[in-house]
Every structure is written in C-alpha cells, then in structure tokens.
C-alpha cells in the first residue's frame, strides 16, 4: 500500500529581486521587482509502507521543500499529494498525529529547559498515556544512550546529544511516517554512526516509512536501498542505490599494477589518467571501451595485476549534482 503518493507536486515562490546599493534600496520602497523561483517542479513519487527512501540532491534542489509539502508545513502551487490517505496541507489533527518531521538545522526543544520537560509537553499534545510515555521515553533514551542527559538544559547539550533528543521528541508518539531532513548534519563520525544505527534498528523494528535527506553518502549507503535524486526541482533518478553508478556514470576505473616501473606511453589516449605513480596507474575509461583498452595495455605493457571498478559513488553523485 502506498503511504506517500504525489502527482505533479509543484511549489514556486515569488522572491524579491533586491539590487545592490542605497539608491536601489530606496527605489525598492516604491517599486519592486520579483522573480519566480520554482523550488519543486511536478514531482511524482510513490513510497510504500515500511520503505526507507533517501532523497538526494544538491543544495536548493527542492528536497526540503518537498518534505515541507509532505508534512503540510507549506501549501503547493500545483499538484496533489496524499500521505497516509491525508492531504498534508489541510493540517488535520488526524494526520499530524501520525507522522513526524526532524530537521537537522532547526530545533524544536525548549532551549533553556531539560529535554524531559519538552517531552512531557509532547506527551500532553499527542495524548500519550502516562505508562506508555514512560516506557517509550525510556526505550528511546536507552537506544540512543542519552538517559543520563534528560535533566540537562538543551542549551548545554552537544550538537550530537541535542540531535538525539530531537529524534526522541519526534518519535514519542510512535509516528507511522518519519521525514528526516539532514538529521546528521554537522555531527562527528561517531554521532553520525550512532544515529544511523538507531534509525536502522528503529525502522526495522517499527516498520515506519522513512524519507531521509542527507548530504552524507555514508548515511544513505548505511540505511537506504532506494534512492530518489532530485535536481532543480525534478526527480532525475528513482531506483536502487547500487543502480546510480550504472545510470549516471558511463565510466569505469581501470587500476594497473605494472611489472616494472616504466610508465607506458600513450596512456592518455586511452582515457583520463587519474593516477600515474608507476608501478601504480589508474585510468578512467568509457564503459564500452574497457575491453579495447585492456587489450591495448596487455599488448604493450607488462602488467602484474589489474582491476576494473565503478567510480566511487560520492564522485558519481558529485558529478550528477554539478551537472544539474
């Protein structure tokens, strides 16, 4: 059953085109120029129950706007969407009780109070029965290893600890759909790993549907099989993680371990030489040319070892983003 369904979902903003200088600012008091920014341009997306989907894209691609549309924070300019059978921007309580949104760059906990006080407020707002609240809170704190920090004001927590508290606040009411907008942004490797493990385990046990945006491929590789890539407001890829390289990269990396330290001539005619420190050589060649290139190399060089690999996923994604 599709939990999230969108049809030609679009959102555009009218943005004031501000010119430089005092004169332009004064003129702007009387007459302003606006431009239309199309943040999301007709997205069709279908996410099934229990899927963990990564939403990738460069800055400004429309990822966060899509999550905001799906969580009903903003209203679209065109198109439709249904999440758990609800139209999100109607902001019905019946819907708002069933999902959660975590934003890595925004804080919803009371800054000056211990997280436990914010959790209690959530308990009242989401009508969580007292025993269940205590049990869920305890379990989540234990999973994330933050039980000892419950009494500490949020402003005194580290970024990683605060993010863990934000996750707990979002999960106290056991949402069926979870929107995660860069939950590991700015965190160190250990904190990232803890949150990845937590999300993986939580999703496995609760079977919640999760849509995750992240700039860290490590997050995506650890958590999601399905990846949706969005660029300039449009979906340009929707498929398995391991299909990205094949879809976007027409290249293969040929790594050679030469038998002698002699650098063969004419390698640059075969492809882009990525590394040239004999006896180690790496060349990037078009996928369809691999056989021809290898035949040429074997005919002209003494090769001790050879391997042919896909380019690293990070590099492929970076290339896709820069192209878009």
């Amino acid at each position: 059953m599709a939990v999230i369904e969108t049809d030609q979902l679009a959102k555009s903003y009218r943005v004031y085109r501000k010119k430089e200088g005092l004169g332009a600012s004064l003129a702007g008091l009387f007459r302003r120029e606006y431009r239309e920014v199309e943040a999301v341009r007709g997205i069709d997306l279908r996410v099934e129950e229990g899927e963990f989907v990564a939403f990738l894209g460069p800055n400004g691609a429309g990822k966060t706007t899509t999550l905001k549309l799906l969580s009903g924070v903003i209203t679209p300019t065109a198109g439709t969407a249904r999440v758990l059978g609800h139209v999100p921007w109607r902001r019905e309580n019946a819907y708002r009780r069933r999902f959660a949104l975590v934003m890595g760059q925004k804080n919803q906990l009371w800054w000056d109070l211990p997280a436990a006080e914010s959790f209690r407020l959530h308990q009242e707002i989401y009508c969580i029965e007292r025993d269940r609240f205590g049990q869920t809170c305890h379990e989540l704190c234990e999973m994330l290893g933050v039980e000892h920090l419950l009494g500490q004001p949020v402003r005194e927590l580290s970024l990683g600890e605060r993010m863990r508290m934000e996750l707990i606040a979002a999960l106290l009411h056991s949402p069926e759909v979870l929107f995660l907008d860069e939950p590991t942004i700015g965190l160190d490797v250990v904190a990232q790993h803890t949150i990845q493990q937590f999300l993986r385990e939580y999703q496995r046990l609760r079977r919640v549907t999760i849509l995750l945006t992240s700039h860290y491929m490590r997050d995506v590789a650890a958590l999601c099989r399905r990846v949706v890539i969005i660029a300039a407001g449009r979906i340009i890829y929707d498929g398995p993680l391991d299909g990205i390289t094949g879809h976007f990269s027409g290249q293969k990396i040929v790594s050679l371990q030469l038998a002698d330290g002699e650098m063969p001539t004419g390698l640059e005619r075969l492809g882009e030489v990525l590394e040239s420190r004999p006896p180690k050589v790496r060349i990037c060649v078009p996928r369809g040319e691999v056989t021809r290139v290898l035949t040429h190399i074997f005919a002209h060089c003494a090769v001790q070892d050879v391997s042919v690999e896909d380019p690293p996923l990070d590099a492929v994604i970076a290339e896709v983003f820069s192209r878009s």
């Binding site: 903003y13 229990g50 899927e51 963990f52 905001k68 969580s71 009903g72 924070v73 903003i74 209203t75 902001r91 309580n93 019946a94 708002r96 009780r97 999902f99 959660a100 949104l101 934003m103 760059q105 925004k106 804080n107 919803q108 009371w110 000056d112 109070l113 006080e117 209690r120 407020l121 009242e124 707002i125 989401y126 009508c127 029965e129 269940r132 049990q135 869920t136 379990e139 234990e142 999973m143 994330l144 290893g145 009411h173 056991s174 069926e176 860069e182 803890t194 493990q197 937590f198 993986r200 385990e201 939580y202 999703q203 496995r204 046990l205 609760r206 079977r207 650890a222 999601c224 099989r225």
Partner: protein
C-alpha cells in the same frame, strides 16, 4: 528472529536495512501506541506551558528578579504620578465622576488587564514574528492541536504578572477609601468584562503579529502595544472636543481599545442601580467587539498561515 533487548543495540547494530517487520515485543521495543484520543486536553497543555515557563523563569532567577522589580517600579512611578495629579485636582475631568479612588479602581483594572495580556500573550505574539522569520513555526504547525492556541500560550512571562497583584491590592484599598464593596453581580460582570478587555487586546496582538507571514517581518508590535496602552489607560470621558471626539470614536468603534479597560472599570465605579439604558449601550457593544475581534483575528491568523513560506531549511 532477533531476540536482543534494545539496550544492547548500540553495541550490535543490525546491518540489514528494509527487513520484514520485526516482532517488536520480542525485541524489547513496545508495540506501537494504540490510537490516541482525538482531542488533547487544552487545560493540561496550558498547565504544562505555565509550568515549563515558570521552571525556565526560575532558572534565570536574576533575570526574573530584575524583570519583576522593573515592572513594579514602573507601576509605582505611575501611581506616584497620579497621586501627584490628585494633589492639584479632585477629579479627572469636571463632572466625569472619576475622583481619586474611583480612578484608582480604574488604574487597578488597567494594571490587571495589561499584566494578564503582557504575561500571557505579548511575548508569544512577538515570538510569532520571530518564528515566521526563522522558519521555526514549522514545528508548531506539525502539532495535532489548534495552532493558534499553541502560538498564543507557548511562553508565559511570569515576571509580567507582578503588577496584577499590585492592581488587586490597589483596588481593595480604593474600595476601603470609598466605603463600599461591590456586590456579587458587579463582581461577576467585572470579571466578565475584564475577560472581554483581555480578549480585545489579544485579538489585536495576534492579528498584528500574523501579518509577519505576509510582510516577512513585523517588529512594530511592542511599539503598538505601548501606543494602545497609552491611549486606553485613561477614562474615555476625557476624550472630548474637536480633537477628543474623533479619537474617542476611533478607539471605541474602529480599534476598540478604549472599551477594554473603561467598561470593566465602570462596572465597579458606577453601581448598577444608577445605570440608565444608555449606560448599557457600550457594555453591549463591548461584547460584540470582543466576539468580532476574536473572529476577525482568527480569520487573519488562518489566512496568514496559508501563505506561510517556512524560511530556509
């Protein structure tokens, strides 16, 4: 089936994503929550706000004390000023009926209404503008509870409630000096019109701060608050003549801030049995103005929310 308790999770993360549903009970995570009741208890949520705000205020006790003391000093300075005025005149406006202690009943009412609206709503209304500018209104919109309720009562400024107690004491003292006590009907009517006054102020505040959604920023609320409380803290009888009449008319019928304090104060000062039919025109209008104010401000708030853009990510 994985039988581990979740407490061991952090040492042994399961590397398999998108597995079939796990048996939550067996793994230590409690089963998903049963359907919650449809409506949260607004009283309990409001109580939690009151409690959390008090805990926060007490955390910064020096700041709390300074705030309380400065608002009390302001109140005492005002009182001193009016005591001084009554050294020169027995009444504010000839024949208006606002003698020294009648006016102190008025002043007590002003303090109570200002203190309640400042303590309960002003900080929230100002913060709404910041929520809009920073995009943190997102989280308020996600909560399954009336958004206007959450926006209006999220933070309570306890230090602003100090003048409320002072206003009550001042009124008790004034009744003692005047030599009468209000009857139960008068008290009920007074409390009712006090609530109307607070509602009128609140409506203006929330409608004004909602406009920040369209304007991007609206920081004029504090100034606005200062202007309207300046206007409404005097009996409306003083607004007479070629300058006074238009002001009285505007701030009674267009922006009804004059009735907010005047009507409840009149309930105390003029006994019910001396009222004529004409005396009831403004109290009836106050009820209409309160209901209209609440309805219009809610409409403005909800219309504004439809245009919310949610700043940044």
């Amino acid at each position: 089936m994985d039988n581990r308790g979740l407490s061991q999770f952090s040492q042994h993360g399961d590397p398999r994503p998108n597995q079939p549903p796990g048996d939550a009970a067996k793994t230590g995570l409690s089963p998903s929550a049963p359907p919650a009741p449809l409506r949260p208890s607004y009283t309990r949520v409001a109580y939690t706000f009151l409690r959390n705000s008090l805990v926060r205020d007490m955390t910064f006790r020096a700041n709390f004390l300074i705030d309380t003391i400065s608002s009390m000093v302001w109140v005492l300075m005002n009182l001193g000023f009016y005591v001084l005025i009554f050294e020169y005149t027995p009444m504010i406006g000839a024949g208006t009926g606002w003698g020294k202690y009648q006016f102190f009943l008025f002043l007590g009412t002003t303090l109570i209404i200002n203190s309640l609206t400042r303590g309960l709503f002003l900080a929230n209304a100002i913060e709404l503008s910041e929520h809009i500018r920073n995009g943190t209104l997102d989280f308020i919109l996600l909560k399954p509870i009336d958004t206007q309720f959450l926006v209006s009562l999220g933070r309570i400024e306890w230090s602003a409630l100090g003048p409320l107690g002072f206003g009550l004491v001042l009124m008790l003292h004034s009744f003692g000096q005047l030599g009468y006590a209000p009857g139960p009907v008068t008290v009920v009517l007074y409390v009712f019109y006090l609530a109307c006054g607070c509602a009128i102020y609140y409506s203006l505040m929330i409608a004004m701060s909602s406009t920040a959604i369209w304007f991007g920023r609206n920081r004029s609320l504090l100034d606005f608050w200062f202007y309207i409380t300046n206007f409404s803290r005097y009996p409306m009888e003083i607004y007479r003549g070629p300058w006074g009449d238009p002001l009285r008319w505007t701030f009674t019928f267009l922006v009804p801030v004059l009735v907010a304090v005047n009507i409840p104060a009149r309930m105390l000062v003029r006994p019910l049995d001396v009222r004529t039919a004409a005396d009831w025109t403004l109290p009836v209008f106050t009820i209409v103005a309160t209901l209209a104010g609440l309805a219009v401000s809610r409409w403005v708030f909800q219309r504004a929310l439809l245009s919310y853009r949610s700043a940044s990510s």
